[in-house]
Amino acid sequence: MREWVATSERRQIRDDDRDEEDELRMDMIHGESHFNFIKMHLLSDLCDDIHQFGNIPMYSTEIGELAHEMQIKEEWRQSNKNDAARQIVHSYSRKHALWMRLLNLQSLKNRGADHSPDVLKHLDKTTRKVSPPVICRRILKGRRGDVSNMVDFSRISGVSLEIINRELIRYSRHNLPIDHGLPEDHAPLRSLPIKLQTQLEVPVLTFQEANVYEIHYARSMGTLHFRNQGSRNH
């Protein structure tokens, strides 16, 4: 009987301990499980921040991510994984110093300094070739078939022919060479053959990029008013 009681007590104590551990574990889990950390908080304030401080690309984390790839991950792969932190620091520092040295040598070369043939050969091998800037041309699209001269254009745009002619002459005087200017008489201007297009693609440099363009699609509105809607790329 005494043995049975002792066993029962032990079981009770064990169950109590287990319950206590479970409660403790759940408390720890609940204590750590929340969304009250900075990353989630920043998301909730994103719209307000843009209103107050401007667009977000200037706070881009891409540079940091790229640095992590270049400075840490590549060096980690090249290390022998033994005391890797020291190897990563040494390797990147050495590479950085070499890049700086090459830049200095290139700068001196551009200023006309004399270098030994070995240095010149090495510079030619390591210097990145700078590609010429991409020239993006504006593209006109969407021809309307019902306009063939200025009279037609005046009719559909609601602008008087007199104003159109006046502005064409002003444009010609200010922008075109004298020998390639438009006629200044109204009669030939009226019969000037034209094509009316509806869309213009304008390449616009992306923020903080040198060669990356995004395309804005400008559409002619004719006599319509501005739309009171959210912005678009067209």
Partner: protein, 100 residues
């Protein structure tokens, strides 16, 4: 020029034209008919919202013809009142479209 707009001016794009001049070896010129807007207070930034306000011209001199090379891109205008808009310079179109 134009205060905070720094030499740029908003306009309504009325028409895009290709003209061919038979007198000059059929030279093609690409021009745009635009209705220029006028910056309010010479383009000074408002103390209230920090944006430039533009308005539509009442006279006929608003219409003009420009080379399409002078069109720099789209501007985001926010209607303030009739024929008057705020130029949204806080956020570019791409970010605006991504967020909203």
């Amino acid at each position: 020029m134009y205060g905070g707009l720094r030499g740029r001016l908003q306009a309504k794009l009325v028409a895009l034209l290709k003209t061919r001049d038979p007198r000059c070896e059929n030279t093609v010129r690409r021009v745009a008919g635009v209705h220029l807007l006028t910056p309010v207070h010479s383009g000074r930034l408002s103390d209230l919202h920090g944006l430039v306000t533009v308005q539509m011209r009442e006279d006929t001199r608003g219409f003009t013809i420009v080379d399409i090379g002078t069109i720099l891109g789209l501007a985001h205008l926010i209607r303030e009142e009739d024929r008057r808009w705020l130029v949204n310079s806080r956020i570019d179109l791409r970010t605006f479209n991504e967020v909203y």
